[in-house]
Symmetry: C2
């Protein structure tokens, strides 16, 4: 039996050293969308794993490389950690209180782009492994890491990679890249992710921008074409107008609804955190808001760009316009089907001139809330957090969990160091250092209990 | 009688010197939309006028100053030149073949931001004055210049300025800031300008951008609100949906239609120059296309901005979105009425959350094609261009001509150095040097004939 008092003492004594390692990792920019620093970051992660006695490979994918690492343990069971070393773009830079790639500690939090999503998750797992090795000299079970560099751009090359490395990645269960407490500081067990289909719509109506006094009445305007094409996708009633879009949607089960009903209210927190005055669909809060957040498919404009965007006025008719759009998908929708339906819809609506570029996608996927590994992870959280971990059957975010559930056929759990104020994907992304320590304590317990489970 | 052979000899001999003066003027950035270099440019223009013996004043307006200059002549008649020293923004900078504020001569053309619109017009008038002074030692008539610095941002302060300087500006006729040959090199007499109402529409739905996995189903999205609000203004049928928008529209008269019918075909030129594949309203060319260009009111999106606009994908739900929109107005529409109708329409359509900022506007205005001053200007063009000047009763662009027609009650003509390839408001704006010389020759003849006219 592992002595968790010893483990916890080790973690407390070595916290600053682990944070120093995290600082080094965040200071290495690795923005997948901008192809910035990815190889260097992969090498840094590989070095960190190698230092712990893992055998490490940096494997090509066609895009950013995957870092794969493996170390044998006492038990013959294998736990797989999926993480990613890439981060979201840091823009808009002017809203950061400290530079995004120069991590800084203020008031018990550490700030930097990618610190929560996903770099502190990587180092907190390594920190737990350090503690187990210090205590026992070996790991309780086999441990594998697969750390990709394209999660923030929809894991473009991961499905093919997992398919062609099925043997290498074989495991009995998987711990996902994120995990967090909610606004009450209760640890949450997230068991399903929506899928995503991310596209760029673009229109070109002329070879150059035109003086609006000349073209205004008689030339097609790329910005107007884009507006009308977007309007054909979704109206103010929020109903997505692409024929067949809702056909494959599987509504939440009674078990899902019961689990969702047990979760705490989020409406006040959302109002405060995001400055949102009211929610869509006339929702005011309650289980209906939580179910809508996770179990409804979406069509979100993520960005618009056309013509003059500077100060004041410029009388110009834009030759080009484009929009970034993401569709969040629920079981059993697929990005392939949505992409095809989108193209057909635009053509049918008279928008054959609107080009669709597929920037990436993932299918939705879930793990059974009654899987024994889920029970183990929930149970081992209790001594760390002092409260029971609560099960969330589905959340609104996306990730390549479907690749692992489909290809490796294993349950996936979440256990991590995030919290609702992490500002993931936004300026001033941060990590609560107290949760970093708890996350490492929980991972050490999971590894130990997993080795002993029948 | 002025000896025009002498005048033309002078102009040919001193062309390079005048171009050098133009180079200096273009090298001084003066972007009204960005409040860049305006005072310095006003001072430079004032210096150029002072050198010619004009009494010059730099007068405050509440915005960029107006340069006013006056010099007495032999006749007691007074000709007023209206020009502007401000220019459009130079962006997108990467499309310029030479830096926009470092004028460069290539293949008989001189390139730079504002060189055609409107700086070469200023110096070509000064060049004509130099020639008349060299020939006669005095000017044939009184000459006044009013040169403003906000034409490219809808002449925000000019109406008030003209109203309160009515005596100072009093004149018998006015030569407008632009003028050009068409694609056949035939000089054109433009007698009417559409009005404009330029607004920025903006929406804010949250205090910060939100991860689209969280907000996608349940948070309002600023970009979607903007798209729907814009869509409510105009549909793919190009009909503007603001109630009452077309009520005040005065259709072209039979005389207007006859003048428009006499003009050359423009469709092929537009296709080639702007890379436009087809025109709106099913138009293919002919007088219908020309009438639509000038006599129809518009609603043009000049720019769109929201959320992530960088490379690749970012899964973000934008907190803010905005659009620049211009409405081109025809007699008897007014910007005030359109602005009011726009706000009422957005409110009625459920878009009270869409803010409207008025960035400037002008009323439409016209000069009678049968005015004797128009006849004089048309007649004096013939010896310079070798072909008769052709009358265009109305064009699609806008300007503050209404201020002068309404307040000073004088006819306004165009005589200038532009051509269809000037790239005004676009990258690689340029001046044809042969037309610069012709423009100066024409202005010298106008001044001389005007002094002698009864």
């Amino acid at each position: 039996m592992t002595d968790f008092a010893q483990i916890d003492t080790y973690l407390e004594a070595n916290l600053n050293q682990s944070l120093e390692e995290l600082r080094r990792l965040v200071a290495q920019p690795s923005v997948a969308a901008q192809n910035l620093g990815l190889q260097a970051c992969a090498e840094l992660v590989a070095e960190m794993l190698h230092k712990r006695g893992f055998s490490v490979q940096i494997l090509p994918t066609g895009g950013a490389p995957v870092v794969f690492a493996e170390r044998k343990g006492r038990s013959d069971k294998t736990l797989l950690f999926y993480n990613h070393y890439d981060v979201q773009p840091a823009e808009p830079l002017e809203l950061w209180e400290s530079p995004p790639f120069q991590p800084e500690i203020r008031d018990g939090k550490m700030y930097g782009r990618g610190i929560s999503d996903d770099k502190s998750h990587i180092t907190s797992r390594l920190f737990a492994i350090d503690a187990l090795l210090a205590e026992d000299g070996e790991l309780p079970c086999n441990v594998k890491f697969v750390i990709e560099g394209e999660e923030e751009i929809s894991s473009v090359h991961l499905p093919q990679f997992v398919h062609s490395h099925k043997e290498l990645l074989a495991a009995d269960a998987c711990v996902w890249e994120f995990g967090s407490v909610d606004h009450r500081d209760v640890p949450m067990q997230y068991l399903g992710l929506r899928g995503i289909c991310y596209v760029e719509l673009s229109v070109e109506t002329a070879s150059i921008d035109v003086h609006s006094g000349i073209g205004g009445s008689i030339f097609p305007n790329a910005a107007w074409r884009l507006v009308w094409a977007l309007n054909s996708l979704k109206g103010p009633d929020e109903r997505i107008r692409i024929p067949g879009y809702y056909d494959d949607v599987l509504p939440p089960s009674e078990r899902d609804k019961a689990l969702m009903a047990a979760l705490p209210e989020v409406s006040e927190e959302y109002r405060t955190r995001y400055g949102v005055q009211q929610f869509l669909h006339g929702l005011d809060g309650g289980v209906e808001l939580r179910i809508a957040e996770a179990f409804q498919p979406t069509c979100t404009i993520c960005g618009l760009t056309s013509g003059y965007q500077g100060k004041g006025s410029k009388t110009v008719l834009p030759a080009r316009a484009s929009a970034k759009v993401d569709f969040r998908l629920v079981p059993n929708q697929t990005p392939e089907k949505v992409l095809k339906a989108l193209r057909a819809h635009l053509d049918a609506q008279g928008f054959a001139d609107v080009r669709v570029d597929y920037l990436g996608g993932e299918a939705p996927a879930r793990t059974d809330p009654d899987d024994p590994f889920v029970e183990l992870v929930v149970r081992t959280a209790q001594p760390v957090y002092g409260v029971p971990m609560q099960i969330v059957p589905m959340i609104g975010g996306s990730g390549p969990n479907h690749v692992f559930t489909e290809t490796l056929g294993i349950p996936i759990v979440t256990a991590g160091v995030g919290y609702p104020g992490s500002q993931a994907h936004a300026p001033n992304e941060n990590l609560r250092i107290d949760l970093y320590l708890k996350g490492a304590r929980h991972i050490a317990r999971i590894l130990s209990a997993f080795a002993e489970a029948s």
